[in-house]
């Protein structure tokens, strides 16, 4: 039975990893068709010369950086608040809302944000664009940040901060000098995670993006809809490699918690 189990597991691992591996291999194919003709970097060269892709990538990076920075600050503060005050109406409300946001289907979150924006636009003279995308990204990544930061906080000794207060530090100083330094690896891990989620999102982004805010996933989606091309293979491979490195870094920072 042991052998059968190992073989089965190997097959499942192949199922999990082979599609991406094959895609990566064919991104180095010199032919435009799915027949191997030889190693070539032509698709990567084409990729870096494509102004459309470059603009989308830049948009994605701006959105991901802004959204992650905002979400990290708000999320860390929120996790700290939840750690300090475990019960009550406000923590209860926040916890159940974040939990719900984690399981809300992306499409529902996307259309509800779209409906909300359109309603707000009746009163304000703004339109869909980078800002609406950033706000949406802050919202959907905050739950991940709180979960990771809270997990890290729960490993800390609350009496350390009390000791700091006892030694005459103000609450702000106690948080900044005692708790925050210990929390940093968790925050960094969570921020990396939020960044990868933000840069990868298609469903919500496509609904709330404006004409000036096309992101990389939107471009890839459009190209995939048209049947795909070796160029998409190359972009995809790059994204997987970059995200993979970030995830491994995030895992390291979380210390296998």
């Amino acid at each position: 039975m042991k052998r059968a189990l190992s073989l089965y597991a190997a097959a499942v691992y192949l199922f999990l990893h082979l599609p991406l591996a094959v895609l990566a291999v064919f991104s180095f194919n010199s032919s435009r068709f799915t027949v191997w003709e030889g190693f070539s970097l032509r698709w990567y060269e084409a990729l870096f010369r494509d102004p459309h892709l470059a603009e989308a990538a830049l948009n994605s990076l701006i959105i991901a950086f802004t959204a992650t920075a905002a979400a990290t600050v708000i999320g860390t503060l929120c996790a700290y608040g939840l750690w300090k005050q475990k019960t009550g109406i406000l923590p209860g409300f926040i916890k159940s809302s974040l939990y719900l946001s984690l399981v809300t289907p992306e499409i529902v979150m996307g259309v509800s944000l779209l409906a909300f924006y359109q309603w707000v636009f009746r009163f304000l003279d703004v339109q869909l664009g980078m800002h609406t995308v950033v706000l949406a990204h802050v919202m959907f990544s905050i739950a991940y940040l709180v979960v990771v930061a809270l997990a890290r906080l729960r490993t800390l000794d609350p009496s350390l901060e009390e000791a700091a207060l006892d030694l005459g530090a103000t609450e702000w100083v106690a948080f900044r000098k005692v708790t925050l330094p210990q929390l940093m690896p968790g925050v960094a891990a969570a921020a990396l995670l939020a960044f990868t989620i933000s840069i990868d999102d298609y469903v919500i982004t496509s609904l709330v993006a404006g004409v000036d805010s096309e992101t990389l996933p939107m471009v890839i989606y459009a190209m995939a809809r048209r049947g795909g091309s070796p160029l998409v293979n190359a972009v995809s491979t790059l994204i997987v490699v970059i995200l993979g490195v970030m995830i491994v870094a995030s895992e390291r920072l979380q210390g296998h918690s």
């Binding site: 039975m1 189990l5 190992s6 089965y8 597991a9 499942v12 691992y13 199922f15 999990l16 991406l20 094959v22 895609l23 064919f26 068709f33 799915t34 027949v35 708000i74 503060l77 929120c78 700290y80 300090k84 005050q85 406000l90 923590p91 926040i94 809302s97 939990y99 719900l100 946001s101 984690l102 399981v103 809300t104 289907p105 992306e106 499409i107 529902v108 979150m109 259309v111 509800s112 779209l114 409906a115 359109q118 919202m139 905050i142 709180v146 979960v147 990868d200 469903v203 609904l207 890839i220 989606y221 995939a224 049947g227 795909g228 995809s236 997987v240 993979g244 995830i247 895992e251 296998h256």
Partner: protein, 277 residues
């Protein structure tokens, strides 16, 4: 003395959640009770028509199909995931590595992973090209743009959700209980079915719900791998808000989907008291 500071820390998140999560959901609630506007959007009069339309056989069948697709995907995830979780729990020092190999693809771009299957399955894709060049087939097989491809993509996308909770419960089973079963004469297969499977039931339940929920509301996978030929709830919602421009009906469908998700969650919330938050 501690409490005001804690509240202050919670405030930004609370405002964010109220504005960008709760308010949008409330707007969707309100829209679902209005009529379709002349140029898209919504308008008066108030109407429950969107909800009565949910009972239209056309839409009821979309819900039924989504349920069936999600159920089949969940069952397949269980079929692949349970043995994998068992394997990882029995692999000693390599556990962390094998676990990482399950988690890693999950965090690398969902879109790219879905596209990878398109690359494999489409008419000019790798599988068809291979089979054609080997002379096994003469015409490309219609591998893409059907329910099979959608289910394949969903299983591929959400398998980690099944593996992780099952692995966690198997890990918690006392090693000596397994030894006791063998000691009392149970062969490995009997130990597996009589002891390991029943004791990992909470993990199986949690994993099944965690896979079922995103499969039920899936949009990207049926859109790309189903190619418009497979309409599920997610596509229906997207379609109502974009092409069809019937926001009230789209809102009603969204709320029904949310309601289903919440019912499912309550079902496991009773079993697993301790959540993530």
């Amino acid at each position: 003395m501690k409490l005001p500071a804690a509240r202050l820390c919670l405030l930004p998140a609370a405002v964010l959640i109220l504005l960008l999560f709760i308010a949008p959901l409330l707007i969707v609630c309100a829209y679902s009770l209005l009529s379709r506007g002349a140029y898209g959007g919504v308008g008066l009069p108030r109407s429950a028509e969107s909800y009565t339309r949910l009972f239209d056989p056309l839409y009821a069948s979309i819900f039924a199909r989504s349920f069936a697709v999600a159920a089949i995907s969940t069952a397949l995830c269980l079929l692949l995931g349970f043995p994998l979780a068992l394997f990882i729990s029995r692999s000693g020092r390599r556990k962390n590595l094998y676990l990482a190999l399950v988690i890693l693809p999950f965090w690398t771009s969902f879109l790219v992973r879905t596209y990878a299957w398109m690359f494999l399955l489409r008419d000019t894709g790798l599988l068809n090209t291979l089979l054609l060049s080997l002379g096994i087939i003469r015409e490309p097989l219609p591998l893409l743009y059907n329910y099979g491809a959608v289910i394949l993509g969903l299983v591929y996308g959400y398998l980690p959700f099944m593996v992780l909770p099952i692995y966690a419960t198997i890990e918690r089973i006392d090693r000596s209980v397994i030894e006791a079963a063998a000691d009392l004469g149970a062969k490995p297969w009997t130990t597996l079915t009589q002891i390991v499977v029943p004791l990992s039931a909470p993990g199986i339940a949690a994993g099944s719900v965690l896979v079922f929920i995103p499969c039920l509301g899936a949009y990207l996978t049926p859109d790309l791998l189903g190619g418009g030929k497979t309409i599920l709830v997610g596509n229906l919602i997207q379609n109502q808000f974009t092409t069809a421009r019937d926001w009230p009906f789209g809102s009603a469908v969204s709320l029904l989907l949310m309601a289903l998700v919440m019912v499912l969650l309550l079902l496991i919330a009773r079993r697993n008291q301790e959540g993530l938050l």
